[in-house]
């Protein structure tokens, strides 16, 4: 049985890896052509009074020679080896190393935010279903609604105003010690908490009302086991989709929040790079983000297949 499933999974990964590659190809074309839309990058990079020789040297250095097609081919062949060229803005560094420098800040913030999301969102969702109709349920639903509706950037500014500045308790920009994580991670996790809470609540309501939960009670199982085993496991399958979204945000940075808190992560980098027309960095970032999303979706589909015995890979509609 296991090996049969293993074969199916392998096949599924193959098919979807090909699909994913196609997607990444499409993204690369898109980003590449968008980057060229801006006009000649040399106008941005070089001083106005640049000499012809210097310009040619610059073109050579940044791979801006030849037709657009040639540039694209060069771009793809270099990119496939992880080489996106030097950053325009920080010419002494490669685009990849610029990103790599910023990645830890985003990932650490993302981890804290993910932790908050899971630790608050999941139990609240479960409890609000179990204690349906009580004050706890009402508070949880209110929180979910708020989290889904509040603009992050505004929440961030309001928090800075209230918590950080008025009471001068935690730092409001950059990273200086663990306290710096408090506000940004709260802001990032608010939406995730809301979404997970809703998903778990509705899924739990459904399973708690199911016949198999009734049967579990009929067996004489404790209420704890009924809720946390029989109702929870089938209920946690649907919200799985959402974990992908969280992970993606964790790895690719929450741009808006990073901007407000001047957080030196990849999200902020994207903002800086786009404004500086730092194409190598922008291209590398876009492809990195797309790849993370595609890999995550694939991982989630495979997890589905193992968590839910009913799912057969490849037959599942895109979820």
């Amino acid at each position: 049985m296991r090996s049969e499933k293993g074969r199916l999974v392998a096949r599924y990964i193959m098919i979807n890896a090909v699909r994913g590659l196609l997607t990444i190809f499409a993204v690369s074309v898109l980003v590449f052509s968008l980057a060229r839309l801006t006009g000649d990058p040399i106008d941005v990079l070089a001083p106005v009074d640049i000499s012809r020789e210097d310009e040619a040297a610059l073109r050579e250095r940044w791979g801006l020679n030849g037709s657009v097609t040639e540039q694209y081919v060069a771009f793809v062949s270099n990119a496939s080896q992880g080489d996106f060229g030097p950053s325009f803005k920080y010419p002494s560094e490669s685009a990849v190393s610029v990103i790599a420098e910023r990645l830890p800040a985003s990932i650490s913030l993302g981890l804290v935010a993910t932790f908050l999301t899971l630790v608050i969102g999941v139990p609240l969702g479960i409890l609000s279903a179990v204690k349906r109709g009580t004050w706890l349920d009402r508070i949880a639903k209110g929180l979910a609604l708020f989290g889904q509706s509040v603009p992050e950037f505004w929440l961030a500014i309001m928090l800075i105003w209230f918590v950080a500045v008025r009471w001068n308790v935690v730092p409001t920009s950059g990273i200086s010690g663990w306290q710096s994580y408090i506000l940004p991670s709260i802001v990032i996790s608010v939406f995730g908490i809301a979404a997970l809470l809703r998903l778990f609540r509705s899924a739990m309501l459904e399973t708690l009302g199911s016949e198999y939960v009734k049967l579990a009670r009929l067996k004489g199982l404790s209420e704890f086991k009924v809720v946390w085993k029989h109702a929870l496991k089938p209920a946690s399958i649907a919200p799985l989709t959402f974990f992908g979204g969280i992970a993606v945000r964790m790895l690719t940075g929450a741009t808006v929040v990073e901007i407000v808190f001047a957080w030196p992560g990849v999200g902020y980098l994207a903002y800086e790079a786009a404004n500086a027309r730092d194409f190598p960095v922008v291209q590398a970032l876009a492809l990195f983000t797309a790849t993370v999303i595609i890999v995550m979706n694939l991982l989630i589909d495979i997890t589905y297949a193992y968590v839910d015995p009913r799912v057969r890979l490849g037959q599942k509609a895109i979820a």
Binding site: M1, G133, S210, E211, Y212, V213, K214, L215, A216, R217, L218, K219, G220, L221, S222, E223, K225, H230, K233, P234, I237, V307, D308, P309, R310
Partner: protein, 344 residues
């Protein structure tokens, strides 16, 4: 009267002292439209090795009655507000939740209607069965649990039990799943088994098989079975006694043959008449006109009176008492002695 199915032949089982006594059980549902008296004063007893059928239309309160016996009425709307359910010398309604859990599955079990939905889709059969086997015997080791699981599956005639344990519910047929549910229910040889529409969701060919299995289990263990159904065919096949339920109350109760041959309540008669008959060449099924009453605004008199062909003034004014027809056969109808419907 003749019926398609052979009338139950197990009525010669020695009638022992009742294992389960239900007295004046009342279960109400508190809804926003008012209080629904789903079970409104039901009393009966079942003896060990005996099968009692409870038959009624959809909405008669029979399923709520079944859930009340195991104290699993839907919270927070449903509440058992009165009566007694006596099993092994104590009133189940007085037990704490924890004590009640120790009773469920061990002394009283229940089989739910839809096997497609009553097994948890994400756990293997072995896991779910082991749970039922271990719940009241926590120190059972894995090997013993495994052996007991195999035995349980064998007792319900599941072929290749070893392999079945590793399966998931979606890999099995409905009949097989219902057998497994039966095995879970019978894991501790309970004294009472409540079967709520045990065969409704099954294929016709599988139904008879399953009913035979239940009877077989009963012969081996002496369990008292309460079958809740809308289908007189099921009653005929399995039951010794039958109680007819209407609008939250029993309206007639007695041995199966007597009820079939001489129904003393017009509702019973109407139910029997409404069964599809193979031998009668009629294109239209007989049916009872009208709807069961809302269980919120119940009439003061007989609850069936508004739909009854034979109702008289007294039926509307006064709730009928029980009339004893024979020592085991009672009916709650003012006209149960004259039986005006017998000649119809």
């Amino acid at each position: 009267m003749s019926f398609d199915q052979p009338v139950g032949t197990v009525n010669d089982v020695a009638r022992s002292a009742p294992v389960l006594e239900v007295e004046d059980l009342r279960t109400y549902l508190y809804t926003r439209w008012g209080t629904t008296k789903a079970v409104d004063g039901v009393s009966f007893t079942v003896g060990s090795g005996e099968t009692l059928g409870i038959v009624g239309e959809s909405g008669s309160g029979k399923s709520m009655l079944a859930l009340s016996l195991v104290r699993l009425t839907p919270e927070p709307a449903g509440k058992i507000v009165g009566g007694r359910v006596i099993l092994n010398g104590r009133n189940l309604l007085d037990l704490t939740d924890k004590q009640m859990r120790a009773v469920r599955g061990k002394e009283i079990s229940m089989i739910l209607q839809d096997p497609q939905q009553s097994l948890n889709p994400v756990f293997s059969i072995g896991d779910q069965l082991a749970e039922a086997i271990r719940v009241h015997e926590r120190d059972l080791d894995d090997r013993a649990t495994h052996e007991r699981s195999i035995d349980a599956l064998k007792s319900v005639h599941v072929p290749a039990p070893e392999r079945r344990l590793k399966n998931f519910p979606h890999q099995m047929s409905g009949g097989m799943k219902q057998r497994i549910v039966g095995a879970m229910a019978m894991a501790y040889h309970p004294q009472v088994l409540v079967a709520d529409e045990p065969t409704t969701a099954l294929d016709v060919t599988i139904q008879a098989q399953y009913l035979r299995l239940l009877k077989d289990l009963q012969r081996r263990t002496g369990v008292a079975i309460i079958v809740i159904t809308h289908d007189f065919g099921v009653i005929a096949e399995t039951c010794d006694r039958v109680a007819v339920m209407y609008a939250g109350r029993f309206v007639e109760e007695g041995p199966v043959e007597e009820i079939f041959d001489q129904p003393r309540h017009p509702y019973t008669r109407a139910l029997l008449d409404s069964r599809p008959k193979v031998d009668v060449r009629s294109t239209r099924l007989q049916s009872i006109e009208g709807q069961p009453p809302s269980l919120i605004d119940l009439p003061t008199g007989c609850r069936f009176a508004p739909r009854c062909f034979y109702s008289i003034d007294r039926c509307v004014a006064e709730y009928p008492p029980w009339f004893e027809i024979t020592h085991a056969h009672t009916a709650g109808c003012w006209r149960s002695e004259e039986v005006p419907w017998a000649s119809r």
